[in-house]
Subunit: 155 residues, 2 copies
Amino acid sequence: MKQSPSRVDVPLQLWVVLARAFDAVERHSRASIARFELGTTEFGVLEVLYHKGELPVCDVQRRILVESSSTTYVVDKLVKRGLVRRRHSGSDRRVVLLALTPAGRRLIRRIFPPHAHAMRRAVAALPPSDQARAVRLLRALGLGAAKRLEAKEPV
Amino acid sequence: MKQSPSRVDVPLQLWVVLARAFDAVERHSRASIARFELGTTEFGVLEVLYHKGELPVCDVQRRILVESSSTTYVVDKLVKRGLVRRRHSGSDRRVVLLALTPAGRRLIRRIFPPHAHAMRRAVAALPPSDQARAVRLLRALGLGAAKRLEAKEPV
DNA sequence: GTCAAGTATCTCGATTTCGAGATAATTTCT
DNA sequence: AGAAATTATCTCGAAATCGAGATACTTGAC
């Protein structure tokens, strides 16, 4: 057992509260999405295709924050359920384009509004002005952390 | 494809940047911890026992943000590796107390400082004053979201 | 133009996490 | 005291995720 080095180490504290906040809000998301017999990642794919239209798998992957192998897995499931379809790109033969099927579009159009409502409630502890402040801070934090990752990760 | 309902829906935006920020910072954490041949959850257990001393499994679980079955799984691994030991509580015979073994203590004492350093770098994109602001906002957000969960979850 | 490096997707096995439920002990209510 | 509700831990099978690497294609350097 060890005593705090300086009573409060703000950066480490930030990491802790970030993780806790994410966890709490994510549970709302999970619970909301579970109502529709979907996993959060599956929902993420439907949502991004709904809002952005047809997209390459790699673009979808970047937005749903999972690795490429997991993306394949989730897309497979959605294709099997008839909610998403794959199509080869004409311009770049490596890429596979994803789009909603009519059934997928009907589904997400129906479930997105109640889910959005649940998420608004999830973060409603913060008044709107604080929400806006948090958005600015988290955006800077996320971009900064991502940049520092790039700097090391690359093979 | 659907156009934005009001150009910017701050609460939903908050959820998105929260998830992105968490993901980016968590990657730093993962990479840092991977240096020591540990998973983030295993590290979490060692860290909490290091800072808080002997604790019931349920207290550890609350802090590492995984379900009880996953906690059993991770603790098992740490026990097998000789880093943590289990002990029955005298006062409440349901509870199992966890504590570091000497080897576990030596390990975490050695790896915590470099990990803390990596995490400080991970969030360093935010100047200290913004870090403090973010801590306050995220704490309120996390507590509020958790409270709203309680209100529904309970069986 | 050719070759090296980079990018997109997928496969496969292993790991991690979850969820439901079993068991046992404690606490609360009546 | 006894029943009912709550809490703590664990088991087990299923689901999600990862990581390494294979394959195919494209881009950039020379």
